[in-house]
Each structure stands twice: as C-alpha cells, then as structure tokens.
Amino acid sequence: MGRSFLEGNEAIGWGALAAGCNFFAGYPITPATTVFNTMLQLLPPRGGTCLQGEDEIASIGFCLGASMAGHKAMTATSGPGISLYSEQISFAIGSEIPLVIVNVQRLGPSTGSATKGADGDIQFMRWGSSSGQPVIVLAPSDVADCFLLTMRAFNLAETYRCPVFVAANKEISMTRESVDLNALTPPRVIGRSTADPDKDFLPFAVPEDSLTPDFLPIGGKTLVRQTSSTHGPDGYITTEPELIEKNQERLQAKLEKEVASFTYFQQTGPAQGSTLILTYGVTARAARDAVSALNQDGDRAAVLDLKTLWPVPEALIIERSKAFDRILVVEMNLGQYVREIQRILPNKKVGFLGRMNGELIQPQGIREAVRHG
C-alpha cells in the first residue's frame, strides 16, 4: 500500500475519526490549530459537529455537554489553553465525563514561544486540576503514534469515563513524515458501557465487576443527572463523609489499579546492559538513534520509550530497569518525569538530561550523557 506525507496533527484527526469521534470543539492556537482544521474537514460532511468556541473554556465546555449527550468528543489546544481548561478538566475527572484532550505542547512558561516545541506540561497535565485525582496521559513519538494513540485515547476515555490527554509536541504535530496508515494495526473501537434503560438508573452507581459507572446519555428515555458538585450514586449533592470517601477512592483506583492494561511502550536495544534511557515523545527518536550508534560501538545501552506517562506505569519501569546498571532520563524540559523515576527507583542510579531552548535534544548529546554520565 502507498504511504502518506502527514503531520502529526492530521494523523490525530484521522485517528479520532477512526475511533468514532463525532464532536470536536477548539479555539485556534499554534501549534494545535491544524487539529481543528483537520476536524473541520472530517466531521461536518459526515454528520458530526466541529465548533470553534469563543475561548478555550467554551470549547471544552461544548465537548463536555456533547459527551454527556452520548457523543465521542475531542478538543485540542496548547499550554495556555490547558491552563484555561483546568476547571473543566476537574469537572470531567470528578463527574466522569469521557473526553480526549490533545495538548500540542509548546515552549512555556505562559504564552512562551508559539512555534517552538517542548515537553513542559508533563506534570501540569497530571496535577493541573483541583483535587489531585488522576488522569490518563499518552505520549506519541511519531505520526503513526499520533494516529494509534488517539484511537487508544478514545477507547480509554470511554472505558474509564475520564479525560485522556494526548501529549503531543510541536515537533511531532507540525512535522510531516512519510507513513503508511494502512500498515498499522488499529485497536478495536470501544464504546462506553451503557446501563439498561429499562431498569432503575442511578447515574453514578457502579456495577459489581467494575469501578466505572455505566452510562446513559442526557436526552434518552431515562432521566440523567450530571453535576460538578460532590455527589452520591444518585447524582445529587452529598455531604456524607462515607459516600464521599468511597467515591474519591474509586476515582483514584479506577485508573491507578488498571494502568497495567493500558501500559504502552517501545523498548529498543538489548534487554540488559549498562544504561537504560527512559524517555518519551519526540525525544525517543533521538534516543533510538543514539542507542543504535552506541550499540554499534559495543555499549549495551537501550531505550524505553514510555507511551503511557500517567498513571505512571510503575510495574513496567521497575521490571525493565532491573537488568541495567543505570537509568538516564531524557526529556524536553528541565526535569519533570525524572521525579517519578527517582521516586519509584530509590536504589537505582538515575541520571538526567534535559533541555529547554526550543530545539530538539540531539542524539549526540544523549550519546555523551550515556558515555560520561
């Protein structure tokens, strides 16, 4: 089959369509705008909806309303927009509204550099909402990942009724690459688990074998309540400490206990050796080039490219790091995910290489950090 010359943002759009997305809303912002452009091409002619909100808060709000009406919704922005999304993200977390959020990261802080890349929002995506409850964050390192991980993001948002971030970067989203989309193996498309509309319905009641409530849409025959307030299973406000605690613990457990079933990664190089480079996103490409050169020179270094960043796939990281003398975390910021690695590998030597100047980390720099670290 033939190959296409696509940028990451276009692949995100096509991935969303393949996953059944039928609602998109966004506000123009470089470097995420081409996701909006793509969705505007894809959705309205097919009966879906693509809206441009008056601001980011409205855009994500439209998505939350549409998702509660049963649509598969996605929005896309960059750091300044994620800042404005914050309270709505908290709503989606606490009230279990499925939503895919594409964050095409650019160099911050604040408005920063609109046309320069960075991975500066890695902790922000995890902790940038009130309550500290978890979210899922997936990080693509190439155009094929943009397609596949966007599909997976929808599946996870639907399965766990939660916001899922696709943590892209200007350097992937706006870089064109030859890719054969037909050669990829897309995941099976999953919809949210629905309740029996003929039985009594409590909007936040959890079935015995699950930690996620069954869904019914606003607008169906059965009346549905949704609320951003602390609620019990009936969707009405509650002040009962026991009910509150049970719900809070469930919100945490439904993602953190399940991370093994959505731990996506790519390991390159030997299974054991000197240095295991832990990285993600566009930097994984430079790390793979570095490792290939190091291996040719006889250095037994390897790369673990984490495509699931949050919840932290702790079991994978612990398991894969055992056979290496040392860990080197490489990321396009001044030290964010390395904190997690230091936390879960307290007895391991963990080195760090980070850079934040709007340019890619080079393979040569990684090679030097492995050799002289």
Binding site: S4, E54, G61, L64, T175, E177, L223, L360
Partner: protein
Amino acid sequence: MDSLLNTHRPPVFCPGCAHDKVVRGLDKAFVNLDLSGDRIAIVSDIGCSGLFDTFFNTHALHGLHGRALTYATGIKMARPDLKVVVTMGDGGLGIGGAHVLSACRRNLDLTLLVLNNFNYGMTGGQCSSTTPPGAQVGSGFLNRLERPLEICEVAGGAGAPFVRRLSSYDPELVAVIQEALEFDGFSLLDIRGLCPGRYTKRNKQTPKDIQAELDRLPDLSFYQQQNARAEYGSHYRQEAGRLQAAEAPLQIETSCTPPGSGRQEVVILGSAGQRIVTAGELLGLAGMSAGLHATQKNDYPITVMKGHSISECILSSEAIGYTGLDAPSVVLALGPEGAAKRKRMLKELPSASLVLKAAGIELPECKARIAELDFKALQVKSQDFALASLALLAGANRVLNLDMLKAALHFRFKGKALEGSLALVERIASQESPAFS
C-alpha cells in the same frame, strides 16, 4: 401533562425568595407546552440559580460558574430535539459574559433565564454585574464605582432575537417563559426579583419598586425583528449538508528510482511568501515517489507575510529517527531572513555540502561549496526560487531527479498550478547550471 416538579426535593430557597416563583412559573410553562421530562435538559449555573436542576424531574446538568451556556451548547448541538433551558444568576452573567455574548451572536435554540436579584446571595451578598451603585452590599464601596449591566440591551446589541426583562411577580411570567421556550432561536429573559436572605436585609426593595424600574426602561421588542434570522443548529446542519467528505490522505506508491542511497538532508532558507514550506513538501513527496522515507520540519515566526521561512527535509533509504539535521548535504539560501536565522549552521557546514544561493544573500565564511544562482537571468520570480532550485538539483541528479520532482508536482497540484509548475521545472532543469559544473 403533570407537573415536572420533583416532590422528593422541594425548593429550599429563603422565605420570600423570588426564585421560588420562577421555579413554579417554569414548571407551569412546561406543563402548558405538554413537555415530558425526557424532552427537557435543565443546565444550571452556580449560586442559588444553580439549585434549579434539582427541583425538576428532567435531564439535568449542573456545572461550573459562568459556564452553563457552554454545556448547553454542546448538548443542543448533539441533541437538537431537546428543549434546553439554562438558569443562571447575575453572578453567572458577569463571570460568563463572553459565553452570553457568543450565545446571542450564535442564535442556537437555548432558553436562558437570568435570575437577577442584584447581588451574590450564596456567598454573602457581594455586588454583582447588576448591583445598583447606591445599594449597600457585602463588597463595601466597590459597587459605587461600577455601572450595572443592562443585559437585555447588551444581548440585543449582540444579536439575540428574543430578549425580555420582567419581574418575578409579573402575572405574565408563565406566558413569557412559555413564549421563550417556544421561540426557535436564542432567548434571554432578565427576570428580576427579591433576595430576602441578603439584598433586602440592607436595601429597601419591593416587587412594586422592581416593576416601577422596569416600566421606566425602554421597550426592547424591536430586537425580535431586527435580529430575526436562521437558528444556528439548523443553519449549521444545512451548511454541513452541502459539504463533500474530505478524501482520505493521498497515498503514494513507489514509481521512480532515487539517484542514490543513504540519507540526504536539505535545508531551504527563505522568507515568508517564497513558498518555502511548499517546496519542502514537494521534496518529501519526490523522495516518497522513489520509495524513500521523508520528514519535513518547518520553522517560521508568528508573523504571516513577514519574517523567515525555513524548511528542513530529510530523505533516507533507512527509517528516520531524529528529525533535526546533522550535516545538510544541500542548503538552498533563497531569502535573507532565513539565511540570517541559520548563520551558525551555515558556518559549521562541512566541505561536502553544497549551498545554492540567490543573488544578494549574504552568507558567513564556511567550508561548503557555494554557487550563486542568477534567477533574474533565468527569469524566475521570488516565489518560484525554491521550486526552480529543486529543478536545478533534479536536472543534476543531486538529491532527487526529474522523474521524482514531476511525480511530486502531480501529487501536489492540479490544473493550472500543475501546468505552470511543470513548465517551470522542465525549463529550468534543462539549463546547464554552473552550480554543478
């Protein structure tokens, strides 16, 4: 149809609160319109108006302060058959002002009830966007400094076709709510009433005062005609229905043979308007037509028709990892802004690199071979410098060949643009260029 009031959760407003009248008025309007609960979604804001959704047996969504209209918009676009009612107070009106204005401009079929009681009841009676400057409120002197918002005038000015202001005690309340619900478009009711819990504790205000103030204000009925137009949702679906579904991404089969193997890095340095990014795309497509892997990474500032434009392309017979450039084999220096941005790269070029530069472009000292192109003599305009440079490379079988470039033009262009670019490429590629002698 029976009342839709939730008998298990009766209103919990302060005795004498005007909101109670609106709850009952809204219910009567639902009954009169014979609406069942499953055909209605009530979207409520924060504050006392945010309790509305709990008093009714309807679909309900209670969200964040000021954002009720955003959720309502999503619900209505997803489910055009639902009656979507939004309740917010004068607090939500202020904090969500951008959404109110946009809802007016959009004219999506939503009914917005503004429960206007001139202060923030729930948080302690602070001033809101509608508090009169003479009132005693929980914000000290601050309300004396601001002018209250006449939301109906603003909404009418922003394009809302149905705007009414009325008292919660108006005998016409039910009829007006009913009319708003039936209106096919955005309707906004400024419903004024007493807040006995906070506002009237420190300010003398009676239903008669409210009515007297309303009687004093100018008539707004002309907005209905002035702003009459298609409802947003039906208009959206009508426009969308005319669109053709976008074609799947173009698929490129290998049809040519590349001039060599290995990795080629090409940088095109130019200025905005020189079609640098298009040239980079053509180079990528050309490589793909010969079965090569390709990447294209662009760099340009936030300005549109000013500033540098740079395209960094890699063609390789091996899969491409790192998308930055190590040692460009060819640099096309076609515009001063682009060349100025990559001074360091130019200085460090190895001797094997070839730089093709347009006349007048200043380059730093470097080891690479530099050839100047006389585009004036070639009769090529600035916006075609990049394509002409690719044609020269193709003519000399450097990085790409003519078959590859022509294949790329066929992938990228149609009609006159294709004819014009093919003609330019044929003409330039056939020239003997001193650059490769």
